[in-house]
């Protein structure tokens, strides 16, 4: 259990070998100074700093960094040492680039941990202003035992003033020497690589939209997300870049949609309330030598556990895409090489005599087999690691990211905050049957969904007739809608249903029975007109209010909360006017939080011709059965999408929706 210290507080230390982890949002210098019983530093050799990073029992890093790990061995301290102070300083006080006062950067966070990473004490140094150097912590001897104290004493005069205060006569020279060593270190270092998901936005990067295989002009996926790079005149032999379009790619990298309407720009992060440093991430237990580290859930960057898990899932997604790319590329190469060698053996006249030809063919096959085996071995190694990671990550997911069969749904409570993302289903690749990557879509929705009830290339070859397909599509739509309702706070997400012929009544039962819908599903042409009219009016009003910068001035009953309209059986029950209203909602709705969920077979509305193409294109296509129509944003593999189905016989949907309905009732009262 980590003790969170406040300034001046102390905490006993039971171990003598410690690690001190420092994280600041910006590169800083970390040093450690030894002091006698009066806290005096006897000489420069009592300070471990970037210019002299190791001293007996102490090790600090050689350069300025945003994150540091200092090693301390208290047993190695001579008897004269009674105090070890951990010092932080900004690398560029007085000239040079970078901040010159701690008040301008995020509060540094310091943690004392054991060698295995278990937290002992932590301290966030707040309240700093003009200081450019600070004594963060002090490890001190008290009656033969060591303790740690949170100090947080800052110095506006930098390290020179700090060292002077601790009684060091060569304070000025030492501070200058540290500055020089840090400058040398900064010149050596290279900027860290950019974060992984944002593969787009490079200078001169041409984003040429590619067309996917299943699209063939009939089912475009929209969303120009990060696209595989467009090579100009690539040399022969490079793999083609004509993979499927990253339909789903934009979801991860895209920023939340920009604020609509005018007014001043809000620079604060929409989901980040404080600048307090995050709690230290869970650390992996030390791995046995020669074995890969044990995976830990939440082992990624982020300000909250949710964000870490989100980033970890995306990291697993990318790793699986890339490791599979390596495997496929090696196997392709092995095959083309074997083909070439076999052809050579065949065309060589000498090989026709005797067994030479056979031997050459045999050798070619053996070479192929060896390379494929090697590739498979590398793939298996990576898959084993990802499987182990998935096994710890999956149970740790919050409801919005979790499968319906995850026990976390049984402990479901109506949330107070909108989650970062929503699980729309699972993704997998044929090479890695054991791994399902959660498909996480950022919330709030940026576009509507289309549950395709048409004929899809069912993977297992099983024949699903169109009646079953419609029922499955509607059930899938209900599962998605229920999940959206469940992860939003009460009253912030409203679902409307248009079911003109009433054919979806059975599938809609979980929604209608629990009473989470705004109104019973609209039936018949009149119902269609009514619902579309009300939503169109809503879009108009909210849009006007937002553009005018007066979202508070909306009439009662209108607000900016999210709305979802499920349309079953389109275009049944729709006249031309209703179709136009639907198109208007598809175009204008997303910017004011009104989204469509079409449960439809595109063929059935073919009569409208290309008029509806933009509508389908604006929606994210999902299927009620497993289907490989989604591409990753890095390599462009075709991933098999599996819808999130509620386990048969499970009451989880009903239980969750009952709670949602109760929360809605008490909210609207």
């Amino acid at each position: 259990m980590t003790a969170e210290l406040v300034r001046g507080q102390n905490h006993p230390l039971s171990q003598s070998r410690l690690e001190i982890r420092i994280s600041a949002g910006t590169p800083i210098v970390a040093a450690a100074a030894l002091g006698d019983e009066n806290g005096r530093i006897h000489g420069t050799e009592w300070v471990a700093h970037p210019g002299a990073p190791t001293q007996p029992g102490l090790e600090v890093s050689r350069q300025a960094a945003a994150d540091h790990r200092l090693a301390v061995d208290l047993d190695a301290m001579t008897d004269a040492v009674h105090r070890v102070s951990v010092l932080l300083a900004l690398p560029a006080p007085g000239g040079g680039p970078g901040p010159v006062r701690f008040g301008a950067v995020a509060a540094p966070f310091v943690a004392v941990t054991g060698l295995d990473g278990t937290g002992i004490a932590s301290y966030t140094i707040t309240g700093l202003e003009a200081e450019s150097a600070v004594v963060a912590l002090e490890l001190y001897r008290r009656q033969g035992a060591w303790k740690v104290r949170a100090v947080g004493q800052g110095y506006a005069g930098g390290l020179a003033e700090l060292f002077t205060d601790q009684g060091l006569s060569q304070a000025q020279q030492l501070a200058a020497g540290i500055g020089e060593a840090v400058a040398r270190g900064l010149a050596r270092s290279v900027q860290a690589p950019p974060p992984r998901p944002s593969d787009g936005d490079r200078s001169r990067q041409a984003a040429a939209p590619a067309v996917g295989p299943d699209q063939g002009g009939t089912a475009p996926q929209g969303a120009p997300g990060p696209v595989p790079p467009a090579y100009g005149g690539q040399p022969a032999g490079l793999p083609g870049q004509d993979g499927p379009q990253p339909a789903y790619g934009g979801a991860g990298a895209a920023d939340p949609s920009p604020a609509v309407g005018g007014g001043p720009i809000d620079y604060s992060h929409p989901r980040r309330q404080t600048s307090a440093p995050p709690p230290p991430p869970p650390t992996a237990p030390p791995s046995l030598p020669g074995q890969p580290a044990q995976p830990v859930a939440g082992d990624a960057t982020g300000w909250s556990m949710e964000e870490r898990l989100y980033n970890q899932v995306w990291g697993m997604f990318e790793d699986l895409a890339r490791t599979t790319a390596a495997y496929r590329s090696a196997v392709d190469f092995a095959e083309s090489r074997m083909d070439k060698e076999l052809e050579q053996a065949l065309s060589d006249p000498r090989s026709r005599i005797g067994g030479q030809g056979d031997a050459a063919r045999e050798a070619a096959r053996a070479r192929h087999g060896r390379l494929v085996d090697q590739a498979r071995e590398a793939l298996d190694r990576d898959l084993a690691q990802l499987v182990a990671e998935a096994e710890v990550v999956e149970p740790a997911l919050p409801p919005a990211f979790a499968r319906w069969d995850n026990p976390v749904w049984h402990a479901y409570r109506v949330p107070m905050e909108i989650p970062m993302a929503l699980r729309l289903g699972d993704l997998r690749l044929p090479e890695a049957d054991r791994i399902r990557i959660p498909m996480l879509l950022r919330l709030p929705l940026e576009r509507g969904l289309w549950i395709d009830s048409g004929r899809t290339g069912s993977l297992d070859g099983s024949f699903t007739d169109s009646h079953d397909m419609r029922r499955l599509a509607m059930e899938t739509a209900v599962a998605h809608a229920a999940r959206l309702l469940a992860v939003y706070p009460a009253g912030e997400f409203t679902v409307h249903v248009i079911d003109p012929a009433g054919s979806g009544a059975q599938a809609l039962a979980p929604l209608t029975r629990t009473g989470v819908l705004a109104a019973p599903p609209a039936v018949g042409a009149a119902g269609v007109t009514d619902v579309l009219g009300r939503l169109t009016q809503r879009v108009d009003l909210v849009q006007m209010a937002l553009r005018g910068g007066a979202p508070d001035a909306l009439p009662p009953g209108f607000d900016t909360s999210q709305q979802l309209l499920i349309v079953n059986d389109f275009p049944h029950g729709f006249d031309d006017r209703a179709v136009n209203q639907l198109r208007y909602l598809a175009d204008e709705g997303p910017s004011v939080g009104v989204h469509l969920m079409m449960v439809a077979d595109r063929e059935e509305s073919a009569g409208y011709g290309p008029l509806l193409d933009p509508l389908w294109r604006s929606l994210l296509r999902l299927t009620p059965v497993a289907d490989d129509h989604l591409a990753d944003p890095w390599v462009g593999h075709a991933w098999t999408y599996e819808p999130p189905l509620v386990p048969p016989g499970s009451q989880v949907l009903h239980q969750v929706l009952t709670q949602v309905a109760a929360a809605r009732r008490s909210w609207s009262r």
């Binding site: 290279v190 090579y231 793999p239 590329s329 092995a334 390379l371 590739a375």
Partner: protein, 188 residues
């Protein structure tokens, strides 16, 4: 390192390296005469081409920053060159343990995208760094800038169970790595 020299990428303790960084740094040569302060921006680009049995399989450059398999990563395009302290301006990270099994050579090249020849570049170097501890393994300075717009800097190739780096330094001409393919093939 000198041209043609090869070093084995083994650690001193016998273990092999897991991750290396190929760093590239340069500065624009100052203009002679008047208006010397008008900076001439020289945009050099580092690229890495992955070969399997002399066939190019993948390439990492400013438009494709990560190889499909994820083992080779470019840290991003630098359009103007060094601020002058001799740090890396562009870098390519290679995770040697993750390079696909069929890739046997990785060739590193430098091109002048803006078309200046290496006569207008000074202090250009390329170096190989052990990414795990920041130690410099090899440094190769682009000596005597000539009237050419590209250079094939070095190659890292499999030898036995480990990898070897060979300094090449062959001049060539071209704006991006594609133009260099004829010049790269002979060094494989």
């Amino acid at each position: 390192m000198t041209k043609g020299q090869a070093i084995s990428l083994q650690k001193n303790d016998g273990g092999s390296l897991t991750a290396v960084r190929m760093g590239l740094g340069w500065q624009a040569a100052p203009r002679r005469g008047l208006f010397g302060s008008r900076t001439r921006e020289v945009d050099l680009d580092a690229s890495a081409v992955l070969f399997a049995d002399k066939q190019p399989v993948d390439v990492v450059f400013f438009r494709h920053l990560v190889s499909d398999d994820g083992s080779v990563r470019h840290t991003g395009d630098n359009l103007v060159g060094g601020v002058g302290q001799g740090g890396d301006d562009e870098a390519i990270l290679v995770d040697l343990s993750r390079v696909p099994v069929h890739i046997d050579q990785i060739v590193f090249t430098v091109n002048s995208f803006t078309g200046q020849t290496f006569q207008e570049v000074q202090n250009a170097f390329c170096r190989l760094v052990d990414e795990t501890n920041g130690q410099e393994l090899a440094r190769y300075t682009l000596a005597g800038g000539g009237a050419y717009t590209a250079q094939i800097m070095a190659k890292v190739h499999r030898s036995g169970s480990g990898w070897t780096m060979t300094a090449l330094g062959n001049p060539a001409n071209g704006r991006t790595f594609q133009d260099l393919m004829p010049a790269i093939l002979p060094v494989l």
